[in-house]
């Protein structure tokens, strides 16, 4: 379409209608790009609305803390001048502000919400707010301090006021500190007492067990994938069905099946006992501990290792190994020096799939993990559905997400994400 005007060098190339060629080209490209974006727009909007936005909203809860300031605005303001080092408990103006705030809050029934929020930080505040809320209607004007102390003597404890003051800002790092077993005290950030530390330990355990599960999946999956790729079609098809059938079975069914197999009066222990391999009181503990979680999760995640491995192995030409052997390599050398390096991409893909899936696994550890085989995700679920401490759950979830991203980045640095082949 373009017409090169024959002329002096340096003259701008234009299309026939006179627009510069560069601009016309850019315009055409832009139109193409727009068309591409329009094509993926429905998916993009869908993912943004139903996936990214809810996740972002949930993660945001890990720092959000408007409730105290919104419900007790004048108290928070009045507390601004209170210094716990100089004064045991605040003066009358603060109590008066609290009275005004509580009067509004009780009418709107939000005082108990603040109570529950602050109860996460200091046990007892929940009932303090509930109890005081019931009495607020009966309070008279004047001498609020005495009346509040009369309603509940805990209003005379410095700790209650410190908690309110500490958690009055709109944003808080309190949830993140809790999520790494830390808390803020008078002197700064310090570790929680040892018997209350749990999350860091659980993060480590989750990582450790996910690695063990990934490793056992490689160990078990590699030979199967090799057979799948190298057996004659008829046999390998049957084998493939055996791999896929459990893959298509409900997760809960498979986990429950493991319960039947692994428990102390279960199939495996009973068989061993009948064979005389274990004594009746020495039955193996295979479930409700780490062993149970590792066995059940290895089984459940195995297809995610086998399938990428298989698809990579399928593309390796048998002539490579034959060539190696004809050049004098024995079986092992031919496998290790020629075949294995070609499958690393598959191992990488499988490992990354299994590892990332298992790090966030929830239902299987819950059912077969007992107490020593549960993951951090079980605590997140607990805080979402039972304790309702969504802020803490969000903080734990954010950390988990960051850990996964860090592992992904590390993997990319070490192995290179371009080397991952899913097929």
């Amino acid at each position: 379409m373009t017409d090169m005007t024959a002329g002096k060098s340096g003259e701008v190339l234009t299309t026939r209608d006179g627009t510069p060629l560069k601009a016309a080209l850019a315009k055409a490209l832009r139109r193409e790009k727009m068309r591409a974006i329009l094509l993926i727009a429905p998916l993009l909007v869908f993912v943004l609305l139903t996936f990214i936005a809810p996740i972002a909203d949930m993660l945001f809860r890990s720092v959000e803390n408007q409730i105290v300031e919104e419900t007790l605005p004048s108290t928070v303001q009045a507390l601004g001048t209170w210094n716990p080092d100089e004064q045991e408990i605040p003066d009358e103006p603060v109590f008066e502000a609290l009275f005004q705030d509580m009067k509004v809050a009780v009418k709107e029934k939000t005082h108990t919400q603040v109570g529950s929020r602050l109860n996460y930080e200091s046990p007892g505040i929940s009932s303090l707010f509930r109890k005081t809320g019931r009495q607020i209607r009966r309070m008279d004007e004047g001498d609020y301090k005495a009346q509040f102390l009369d309603a509940d003597k805990r209003w005379g404890e410095a700790n209650v006021w410190k908690t309110i003051k500490q958690f009055s800002p709109t944003y808080t790092d309190g949830y993140f500190l809790s999520a790494v077993d830390r808390k803020r005290s008078d002197t700064g950030i310090e570790a929680k007492p040892e018997r209350e530390q749990i999350y860091i330990f659980l993060f480590w355990r989750t990582l450790f067990m996910s690695m063990v599960i990934t490793f056992t999946c490689i160990l078990l999956g590699y030979p199967i994938a090799f057979l799948l790729a190298n057996l004659p079609l008829r046999t390998s098809n049957i084998l493939m069905i055996l791999v896929l059938l459990p893959f298509w079975t409900s997760l809960l069914v498979r986990t429950s099946a493991w319960k039947v197999l692994l428990q102390q009066q279960g199939v495996i222990n009973e068989t061993l006992y009948q064979l005389g391999l274990v004594a009746d009181d020495g039955r193996l503990e295979l479930i409700n501990n780490q062993t149970g979680t590792i066995i059940a999760m290895t089984h459940i995640l195995l297809p995610f290792m086998i399938l990428p491995l298989y698809s990579v192995m399928k593309t390796i030409s048998p002539s490579y190994v034959r060539a190696a052997k004809s050049l004098g390599a024995n079986d092992w050398t031919a496998f290790w020096r020629v075949y294995f390096p070609n499958t690393v991409a598959g191992i990488g893909a499988g490992s990354i799939l299994v590892f990332i899936l298992s790090i966030g696994y929830y239902i299987t550890p819950e059912l077969v993990g007992g107490t020593s085989g549960t993951f951090i995700s079980n605590r997140i679920a607990y805080h979402i559905s039972s304790s309702l401490n969504w802020g803490l759950a969000a903080a734990l979830g954010t950390i988990l997400l960051v850990v996964v991203l860090v592992f992904y980045w590390l993997y990319d640095k070490i192995v290179g994400i371009d080397n991952v082949k899913l097929g």
Binding site: K109, T110, T112, Q113, G115, S116, N119, Y120, P123, G124, I125, S126, S127, R130, R195, E196, Q197, I198, F201, L202, R205, Q263, Q264, Q265, G266, N288, E366, G370, T371, S372, T374, R379, Y382, I384, S385, S386, S387, L388, N389
Partner: protein, 364 residues
Amino acid sequence: MKLKKLALALTATVFASSAALAEDMTIVSWGGAYSASQNNAYHKPYMEKNPGVNIINDESAAEAVAKLRAMNEAGNVTWDVVDVVAADAIRLCDEGLAMEIDHDSMLAAAPDGTPASKDFGDLVVSECFIPQIVYSTTFGYRTDKVGATPPSDVCAVFDMAAYPGKRALEKRPINNLEWALLCDGVAKDKVYDVLGTPEGVDQALAKLDTIKDDVIWWSAGADTPQLLADGEVVMGSTYNGRLFALIEEQKQPVAMLWDAQVFDLDGWIIPTGLSDERTKRALDYVKFATDTQRLADQAKYISYGPARASSAPLVGKHETLGIDMAPHMPTDPNNAKNTFLYNYEFWADNRDDIDAKFQAWLAK
């Protein structure tokens, strides 16, 4: 033209079905035998009386608090009536997620005219809570695995010498810590005073430490009956109705250890944020379902005690087994010689704190 007709027809169907939906009422409960008992005692007679209403059973009571909070935030509450334990009712009330009830004006009086609030008595533990049943968390044991002297005392749970074998305990501090303190020599009326101190929690956990290696921790009410039936545990705690089903319906070699059973309450709440019309319907249902006769009827299907004083004399025989239900009620004088009442206030305050310690203890 054809397309237009089709579109019209489609719109018509959509409208018709949404009109039908308007009469649906979603009632959330616990599933299993419990929902079945409610279905027989409440839902069926209610739907017979009100042919326009179609009751839909949802079995997510275990996650009710979290789900209601999420629904409320999304501004779309799809549940009409929710069955929750009293502790959850208190939390829902605190969070403003459950409606406050005026028990006397909204619920039926007893046949002799006693107002509802008197008939329920102390069981109205929250302004939002409409009591339904009294249940208890207690122990069941395998009669064939405890030797010649079956346990009669809750401290048998901690006695590994006399009753070796695994135990099933609930994976939460509530109840377990109370039992541990009781068996560590703390007087019954001092249990919560002790538990309110950090040393008290340590003392209870230290007592639990003595059996920690032999405990299977359950989180669903159906776990313990299954573990008992499989012979995986010698004794285990669960809800008394589950044990009743295991013993009387499935005829397993299991017996009840009523000692130090912990009473708890279960009942209805009505979510906030419903339209006036739905609230009215929910209230109408609740008024019907918690009257004296209906509560007594439920006891025909499951061994939980009706929450009204006036219902107790009406408790009869099991619908299919034909056995007297009164001796199987947790409130029966023979069973209730030594009981505990769930301390709602204490656990509302200390649950998060003690749970953190308990879970840290469990994980190590």
